[in-house]
């Protein structure tokens, strides 16, 4: 079982709040130096960094819009800020632009695919170089129960999340023998800003656990997949959904 190199850095995209913030904190608690990426919520990202530092961890807020395309520049910025190669990449950044397919515009489609799926590919591709060189890497893609299952009004989101899962499996197979694992985590109904407006009581009735999940519960799954202990886990999707997909 190979061990994480000492100067290894983790990059979490979309980490200023919600699941991303919880993931950043969990990885920092596990000894990763963490880049807390944000697009517009600088205050949120700084709060995450402050919380990590208060707990004795190491982190930096890194501003970048991952949908803009320059993955190499972001990775270089992170490596310079934290003094080591990015050996854990958590592709968490995601948006929703909901509507039934009949009403969904090209822009709604392009924005969701362009934020939730394409940047995950580009950043994964661009981070593999360092990971392969180090013979150690952890790519974790934050997917969703939506994608593998239907959710009316989210054909764009479902396509992006299902796409992440397909991409995860194929890239995992390509790089496994270099000590790089690629996995997906599929959260179910988690209490965050993204789900705040939804009819919670009605949705919870359909979940075997009869409650929403927390960002920390998703982060715990990511923390495991990023750890040395998960070196033989690759190409898989870990559902954190209270039994919704069972």
């Amino acid at each position: 079982m190979s061990s994480r190199p000492e100067n290894a850095v983790a990059l979490v995209t979309g980490a200023s709040k919600g699941i991303g913030a919880a993931i950043a904190k969990a990885l920092a608690a596990d000894g990763w130096a963490v880049a807390v990426n944000y697009r517009s919520d600088e205050a949120g990202a700084n709060a995450v960094v402050a919380a990590i530092e208060e707990a004795g961890g190491q982190a930096r807020a890194v501003h970048a819009d991952v949908s803009s395309g320059d993955g190499k520049a972001l990775l270089k910025q992170v490596e310079e800020a934290l003094g080591g190669p990015v050996l854990a990449l958590v592709n968490n950044a995601g948006v929703a632009r909901d509507n039934i397919a009949l009403q969904l515009t090209d822009e709604d489609w392009d924005v969701v695919i362009g934020t939730n799926l394409s940047p995950a590919f580009r950043l994964t591709r661009d981070s593999l170089r360092s990971m392969i060189k180090a013979r150690y890497g952890r790519v974790i893609n934050i997917a969703s129960v939506v994608g593998p299952r239907a959710n009316a009004g989210q054909s764009n989101y479902a396509a992006a999340k299902a796409g992440l899962i397909g991409m995860t499996k194929t890239i995992a197979a390509e790089v496994a023998r270099r000590g790089v694992t690629v996995n997906a985590v599929a959260p179910g109904f988690i209490a965050t800003d993204m789900t705040a407006e939804l009819a919670t009581d009605e949705i919870v009735k359909a979940i075997p656990a009869r409650r929403q999940g927390t960002p920390e519960e998703v982060a715990a799954a990511v923390r495991f997949l990023a750890s040395d202990d998960a070196g033989y886990v690759t190409g898989t999707t870990l559902y954190v959904d209270g039994g919704m997909s069972a």
């Binding site: 170089r129 392969i132 060189k133 390509e174 790089v175 023998r177 270099r178």
Partner: protein, 82 residues
């Protein structure tokens, strides 16, 4: 900083890199095909990265697709670097 691109230097780099991919040193010749050496696309991608780090010469996907033998790889790097 990129090193000088001579055939001798590039050959040394390539010959030293191939064993990392499980290739037996005794099997490495200019005429050996990557297929015979069991060097696949991931290995070639990594070899390209080693060459780029050493000599500043970037081998693109199309280039790598045309390389069949160890000699092809060495000659291509020397040609691109000249």
């Amino acid at each position: 900083m990129a090193n000088a691109i001579t055939e001798e230097a590039v050959q040394k780099t390539v010959y030293e890199a191939l064993p990392q991919f499980g290739v037996d040193e005794a099997d490495i010749t200019r005429e050996a095909t990557f297929e015979d050496l069991d060097v696949d696309s991931l290995d070639l991608a990594e070899l390209s990265q080693i060459i780029e780090d050493e000599y500043g010469v970037a081998l693109k996907g199309d280039d790598v697709g045309k390389i069949k033998t160890v000699g092809d790889a060495i000659d291509l790097v020397v040609q691109k670097g000249s």
